[in-house]
Symmetry: C2
Subunit: 314 residues, 2 copies
């Protein structure tokens, strides 16, 4: 049996697992991400891989990184959350691990995981949208990962939604993830609650009673209880998400959108307004086949599982 290790390097955690050919995780470990220091993160990757290798014979390592990865799947051009710039991660890790190493953008790896073993198994053309603190994306076209001319495709969270809109850490303004992400949901709910404390009573009670104390979890709970402010925040979020899906469908025309990430835990609270808005805003609607919108199935493990599988298919 062929085993590989998948590593998911995020802003807060380095998660790793031994994954078999059917996408099952046989062993799992994680460390906190050392801040702002590529060599300390490399050390952490080497450490989790060493730990997992002690118990399982693995043939390769796939690493998903929250950043722009080159087309050779070797070098990280830029990882703003990690504050990396031009890191030759494949070379370094290959030298230290003495195993084949594939580096991939984390959202691409997650999309690959969902395509191979999750919600996209029956599809050949899909767009994965990961809605968490930001919006990540991965595209599978004709059964292959769509990586673009330089490896930096599917940075879908950074299409512009609002001219001169909210500033984005990417250096631009008005990016989709400033309106359609989990962070945007929380910001919106806090603003709404601050403007109508009475209406937001249920929502505010779940936290410390202040708008600033509202979290994403509170918004989901409150919306389930019918809190009008929380429900309105999900409606607004769904509107932005649906508009973005419509834009992506105009360009990419997938058979299916797979939506994952922390916000997707809210289920129908966000999915229904998202699908409504998508179907409403699609160009040529009524005159073309329409993509389905499905929930991701692999949760936080999608990136790890996908990276491991990409390493197997290197």
């Amino acid at each position: 049996m062929s085993l590989t290790i998948g590593v998911d390097v995020g802003g807060t955690k380095v998660a790793a697992g031994v994954v078999d050919e059917s996408g099952q995780i046989l062993a799992h470990t994680r460390l906190d991400t050392p801040p702002h220091n590529p060599s300390a993160v490399e050390d952490a990757i080497v450490k989790v891989v060493a730990e997992l290798r002690g118990e399982h014979a693995v043939e390769a390592v796939g690493v998903g990184v929250a950043g722009f990865v080159d087309r050779g799947r070797a070098k990280v051009y830029f990882a703003p959350n990690l504050r990396w710039e031009g890191v030759s991660l494949q070379d370094v890790l290959h030298g230290r691990l003495e195993l084949p190493v594939v580096v991939e953008n984390d959202a691409n790896a997650a999309a690959w995981g969902e395509f191979r073993f999750g919600a996209g198994r029956e599809e050949t053309f899909l767009v994965c949208v990961t809605v968490g603190t930001g919006i990540g994306g991965g595209v599978i076209a004709d059964g292959e990962l769509f990586r673009g001319g330089y490896g930096v495709a599917a940075e879908i969270g950074h299409i512009q939604m609002v001219e001169e809109g909210r500033p984005c850490p990417c250096g631009q303004r008005g990016c989709w993830e400033q309106y359609g992400s989990g962070n945007a949901l929380v910001r919106d709910a806090r603003e709404r609650a601050a403007q109508s404390l009475e209406q937001a009573e249920t929502l505010l009670k779940l936290g410390d009673g202040t708008p600033e104390g509202i979290t994403g979890q509170h918004i989901t709970e409150a919306a389930r209880l019918g809190d009008p402010v929380a429900v309105a925040a999900f409606e607004t979020l769904g509107g932005w998400l649906g508009q973005g899906l419509a834009d992506l469908a105009a360009v990419l025309d997938p058979e299916t959108f797979i939506v994952g990430g922390g916000v997707s835990e809210a289920g129908d609270l966000f999915l229904r307004p998202t699908v409504d808005a998508f179907e409403q805003r699609l160009t040529g609607r009524g005159h073309r086949p329409i993509a389905t919108v499905e929930m991701a199935r692999l949760g936080n493990d999608a990136g790890l599982i996908g990276a491991a599988d990409l390493a197997r298919r290197r």
Copy 2:
């Protein structure tokens, strides 16, 4: 030598040509497009093909249509300018012509033409943007036409640029082509001229003296002469075009954008502000390779040449 016929079915003309393996047009003919009547357009296609076949032995026919074409390259789902809905064009033409027939979206065919024989010959990953009355698009990924899951990809003129913006014939509002097309350029110049008749003196003199009489040609001429209203209209157009290219680069990450269509005849007048805006608005700029922006080379023949080549490679 292998010869095929390419047919480009637009809103006003049915243009056709015999094309050889090197993309050269050996014979050419055209008819006006019969309005709003699929069977009359089919008659026109049969007529131009019959005329060309009289002089050349051809092996297949490729037809580019301004509309949504299915993934089987057989059926037109929807062609708003032709007022077609669900036309099985391949079947009909194959029956009448007794030749293999491939149907393709016209902008996809044009992109394929530029890729094979025009500005994209050296590339493997490109996005063609045709800026005319609207904005058409075609994507070449790893040397293949990117058609999407249902065949309707690269409808790039219909990504939303402005929330609740100008209405678009596609049924939505705020689409890119309402801001970045030749029609948008003319609308903008007319509005500017109406607001400052003195400043637009040069521009107005080229036409009948009224804002309504301003054409795209006049705007190009006036901008070359330094007319401030015409120059400003091109700057605004370039800003919208550059923003759209930045959005497309976030999603598709091409090596090269190839810009063609009627507006591209204005050359640097529109290309410079477009490239400036693109480079300014690109997500992660300065931290990633940046696509080049080049002018198309095949002019109005790109679609015809591309359709003929697609028929050869059927």
